[in-house]
Symmetry: C2
Subunit: 295 residues, 2 copies
């Protein structure tokens, strides 16, 4: 069985370890990145450097995009001027956008691919750089079932792909993920502060709650950061706010009122406004203390 | 080494399996319950039936109380009329109240024990009837360190005790636990409804999020109940509301504003008001659908 040829666009913090995992899984891989020095390790592991996005797309079975945001993806994949990546794809190839982009952008990209006879999947990830390195990413995939079935081998080399519905629903699911993360960080901060103000040792409280119904990776990892007041990001609060804001806009477009997500969003907005946007999102504890300054 | 003699008051849904675990661990146990037929299994396993709370307290090293609420505990443990349990304790014995009661009640009980030269621990639990049967309860313990150290063997026969601080802080920690549970149920319901309205398959979404940062026992167990619309309690919503209400009153007494807990409380209040208080707390999904009825 012939291994597929993969084009990879965007080899930054997340993209580089993902591309390396595809090479380790035996795929032929050709890659483009705006800063070419971020391709050095990929070349060392057998990848091919491309000078343009179009070159990275030429002759591949699957093109993966891991650029930073929706406008950048749109410009590189679909931009005018004859050098965009998608126009260089062979009809029948598959484009997988693994960046976190707006739902509406994903749906529009799928439509533009369809008219070019290119299959499209939106497949954003959760798990951070560690998940990218360990090939343990949670991969939330929207798009046609056939495209998912045909790409499952490639995605499985990067983590655990789950097909959740048609194009756009991968991004919708990523927003759902971010809503839960933001709200859980907020409730864990509230609970630890509440326990502390009541005279309990918050480190013991975290320990006591772990293993019960209040347990979560957020309680364990972000709760620990709150106890240590170690707010090196991790996931910066300003990006958490961008995600909750995008989720609430999408909810509004769907006519949905989500009170807890709105409350968490307001807390992150206050945190960023008070100058803590570059701290880890667990630094929301600082905002909660600010709100509850003892007078 | 002589095993301790234990008195046990309140052998209902939780208390009965806890008393049986103490017998299985080799302790001598004497028990009282308002409805004596709930003592049958305890007698069958070697426990002694007592006719009054005072009789259950007589001659024991440790008296455990697992009655349903604060006023009931107060009446049986400290009531006037010469038949209360605490007055029958030998000075130097330890009273462990494992019921969920108000923080202020626990602090007052500790004070009343101190003047009688009885050690006091408040040690509410999380984990439900299954945790009680499996001896896997999360046990949140407030009280003096020496009393905790001396009772750790007994508590360890029931689950995983963690000493979180002075008297009352066990109850404070239990409220923190309930705040996280209530808020996490709410955010999981919001996220699943958001994904569904955006066209994703919510069962696949739950599957995709499990194992990432949005994962939790609530996502797995209560999320599954939401998907199946199976709202047999489990933990009834009206008790969840009682807990969030108690937590918010305690927060107010401490001068604390907790926006996410307040939002979750308002959702549970609306759920109970709309007649769903006897459903499992995961039935909050019904309230969220009600709030977002598609017109």
């Amino acid at each position: 069985m012939n291994k597929k040829r993969i084009g990879f666009i965007g080899t930054g913090l997340m993209g580089e370890p993902m591309a390396l995992n595809l090479l380790a899984a035996g795929y032929d891989l050709q890659a483009w990145n705006r800063s070419p020095e971020k391709l050095d390790r990929i070349v060392a592991e057998g990848g091919v450097v491309c000078e343009t996005p179009a070159a990275a797309a030429t002759g591949v079975d699957v093109l993966i995009c891991m650029l930073s945001d929706g406008p950048t993806c749109d410009a590189v994949l679909f931009g005018s001027g004859g050098e965009n990546a998608v126009d260089a794809l062979t009809p029948g190839a598959t484009l997988i956008v693994m960046s976190s982009i707006p739902v509406e952008t994903a749906i529009e990209q799928a439509r533009r691919c369809e008219v070019r006879n290119v299959a499209y999947l939106d497949a954003p990830v959760s798990g951070g750089q560690k998940g990218a390195m360990d090939a343990s990413l949670a991969i939330m995939v929207g798009g046609a079932s056939e495209a998912f079935d045909q790409s499952q081998d490639v995605l499985s080399a990067l983590g655990r792909p789950v097909h959740v519905g048609p194009a756009g629903t991968g991004q919708q699911t990523k927003l759902a993920n971010q809503m839960i993360v933001a709200s859980t960080i907020a409730t864990v901060a509230e609970a630890l502060l509440f326990a502390e103000r009541g005279g309990a040792d918050p480190a013991k409280v975290r320990d006591a709650l772990a293993g019960g119904f209040a347990d979560s990776p957020i309680l364990r990892q972000h709760g620990q950061r709150m106890l240590e007041e170690n707010y090196e990001p991790g996931g910066a609060a300003k990006y958490q706010l961008k995600d909750t804001r995008t989720a609430l806009e999408r909810a509004e477009a769907l006519g949905l009122e989500l009170p807890v997500a709105r409350t968490a969003d307001a807390l992150f907005a206050a945190m960023v406004e008070h100058g803590d946007g570059d701290l880890d999102h667990s630094g929301l504890m600082r905002e909660l203390r600010r709100l509850n300054t003892q007078s």
